[in-house]
Symmetry: C2
Subunit: 415 residues, 2 copies
């Protein structure tokens, strides 16, 4: 496969035009959209308006006049389109961690009203740590008689669901390996065994089709700063299936989740629907950025997006093979396309140095402890030529031993 073949793929790419909607960084091949998405041009325009008009000129009146007060709902509904959710089940607010706390407490209450013996929250050892930490927080406060975290291998998750299981907490695409679980099958299995499912969509939303309603997922949370390009640390989202709205409650009962927040009543009365998942006043700067960023998905077929994502990863791995590097970098991603997320991860002894050396050459990938390198593919803005460049620079780094440079001491990175 040579550069001409690659360029041919870009010519017929149905998303070539979408790339132009992004404020692409100069002189970079960016394969880290699974960590922090690139800003869209519409986002910049929107932020300028929020700064120069809405906040600085219109000030407090903007809560009504520019509809700040409904941003959590407006943004939530745009996300709903991307995760297979009918309206009024998805809302944008807080962080994934905080939203997990709401989902965990709400779901536990529902299950335990039926069967107080169900106390186990089942999850996987290599789930993203904050997911596990939030279960530990709930367990510490409710006590072991209400909540116990049980961790198993990802491959054995389903076989551990039993009559003690209250909830299964699973992330659809593993942040380290990029392995995608069969969420539909997991939910069916959990429900058959009387448990509910909370699904973390951090590495799925905006990268592939998700069918929360069809799969009968109970609760879900997700991130807007990866494939949804909402900006660094952008607010997260939470989904609660409509069938649970009547029976759910969660303790972060702030005034934005009140049925009539502007009555300023001293008694909390939860709003009827998904709005009861809101807590405090949302950041308008952060919310406006997500709101604008989501418009790039208008008219996008998630099936076609998924196909391009898989094609990008196929081409990347094929090029590594061509460079005889598929033995040097050991794939830790699944061979089956259907089991992959939108990233390829490799085990490599000098993964940190490799990552740093690539950055020096303008190729941004991601290191994950202890020695993995992740290449994220964002089909809305990554071209096939990006992939070709990345593989070529990777080849040169290794040929020149740049990854062994003593400068590359291990240090912290952020997901």
């Amino acid at each position: 496969m040579n550069l001409t073949d690659i360029q041919e793929l870009d010519i017929i790419d149905p998303f070539a035009k979408h790339r132009e909607q992004f404020q692409l960084p100069e002189n970079k091949v960016y394969l880290d959209g699974n960590s922090l998405g690139i800003m869209t041009k519409a986002t910049e325009t929107r932020l300028q308006n929020v700064i120069q008009q809405q906040w600085s000129q219109d000030l407090i009146n903007s809560w009504n006049d520019h509809n700040w007060v409904n941003l959590p709902q407006t943004v939530g509904e745009k996300i709903a389109h991307l995760i297979g959710a009918e309206p009024e089940q998805t809302i944008c607010c807080d962080s994934i961690s905080v939203n997990l706390f709401k989902a965990l407490t709400a779901a536990l209450t529902i299950v335990q009203t039926q069967d107080s013996e169900r106390t186990v929250v089942l999850s996987t050892k290599d789930n993203f740590p904050t997911d596990l930490y939030m279960v530990q927080g709930v367990a510490q406060f409710l006590g072991q008689h209400r909540c116990q975290l049980k961790l198993v291998d990802e491959s054995e998750l389903e076989q551990h669901i039993n009559s003690k299981t209250a909830l299964v907490l699973a992330t659809e695409v593993n942040f380290r390996t990029g392995r995608r679980i069969n969420a539909k099958q997991l939910v069916a299995n959990a429900h058959e065994n009387g448990a509910l499912v909370i699904l973390d969509l951090a590495h799925s939303a905006g990268a592939m089709p998700v069918h929360l309603d069809d799969w009968q997922v109970d609760f879900a949370v997700g991130c807007t700063y990866k494939y949804l390009n909402g900006g660094p640390g952008a607010p997260a989202f939470i989904y609660a299936a409509k069938r649970h709205h009547k029976n759910m409650s969660q303790p972060l009962s702030g005034w934005f989740g009140h049925a009539r927040p502007f009555d300023f009543s001293p008694e909390y009365e939860p709003a009827a629907g998904i709005q009861q998942m809101l807590t405090g006043t949302p950041s308008v700067l952060a919310m406006s950025a997500v709101d604008a960023a989501l418009d790039v998905f208008k008219g996008v077929s998630l099936e076609k997006l998924r196909e391009k994502s898989l094609q990008l990863s196929d081409v990347f791995h094929q090029l590594l093979k061509t460079h005889d590097l598929d033995d040097v970098l050991q794939p830790i991603f699944p061979e089956q396309r259907s089991e992959r997320g939108s990233q390829l991860s490799y085990h490599y002894e000098h993964a940190y140095g490799l990552c740093q050396a690539l950055i020096q050459r303008g190729v941004v990938a991601d290191f994950r402890a202890p020695n993995y390198i992740r290449f994220g593919f964002t089909p809305l803005y990554n071209s096939f030529e990006d992939i070709w460049q990345a593989a070529e620079q990777l080849r040169q780094v290794l040929a020149e031993n740049e990854h062994l440079d003593p400068r590359w001491q291990q240090r912290n990175t952020v997901t």
Copy 2:
């Protein structure tokens, strides 16, 4: 008092220069900084840099290169200077509501480790509703045997502290009346009776001196979008006195509060100090705005700021008297200067219409249900001529009966 006298006051105002650091709205007298502060010019510059360089060009590397990862601490320490807190006790994150949940659960645990019979959280009927809602959330979550909310009149708060009281949850300056409690005395009384105090500084921070360490306050929360000018819905802050750090824990144990978040360990281990109050990934746009906004306080004497704030309110009320309006608008603020916040509130039958009619004339004040009008004074950017203009327009609105215009149907507003 005529306009010339007023203009004289502006000439000798020590904060006249600070006004120039704000992006003042055109053709407006803005007396609503107690709801949403005005943007500083430095904030706009900073946001432009975050948008055009840090996010769009430097992307993921900015977590380290632009120190995004430490924003909660950096901003927290800037706030600490304004609330009388020695370093390492204040951090910026989440909303007030979410931070209240952390403070409530942390403080309850500390008290109940000593004395499990102390289950009452004492607060005031007219506290800001979200404060009360969060106690109701905790009570529901932990059960009545751990947490019960007891509401009393603000004037009787201290006399209700007894051997059942775990916590006193008080807001220093009431959002409706603007009445300021004696926090130092409250804390002394609570401690004498074995209870801890959580203080809400939403209407204090940035408007007057606060002495959390000196007053021996246990926990505090506060808002950055009012007198701190951090932007609409900007992240809040939380303070925990150092003496409690060893014994405190809170259930929103997200990865940013971990001792070593980037180890990605499946076991939660809280960070040693105030950092354990962090939960999820912070919004960089929102945090950067607060960070920049706080620089306007560099070198500001909070005592002098307080003096100007009281002077602004004195002048305003004096002008209403001059216009014979102090019987029409009934003061609900305390006569004693020391008991006032940085706002004056009046009861008036047509408060909503009055507020709307004033907005039409470019004077922005604030309506609070059922029939109060609040005038907020922000001494860093309000001039004495602003006050004169507001009183003059108010006189004209009432003289012309503009407040009775049938257009002014009651509707929602946001604090």
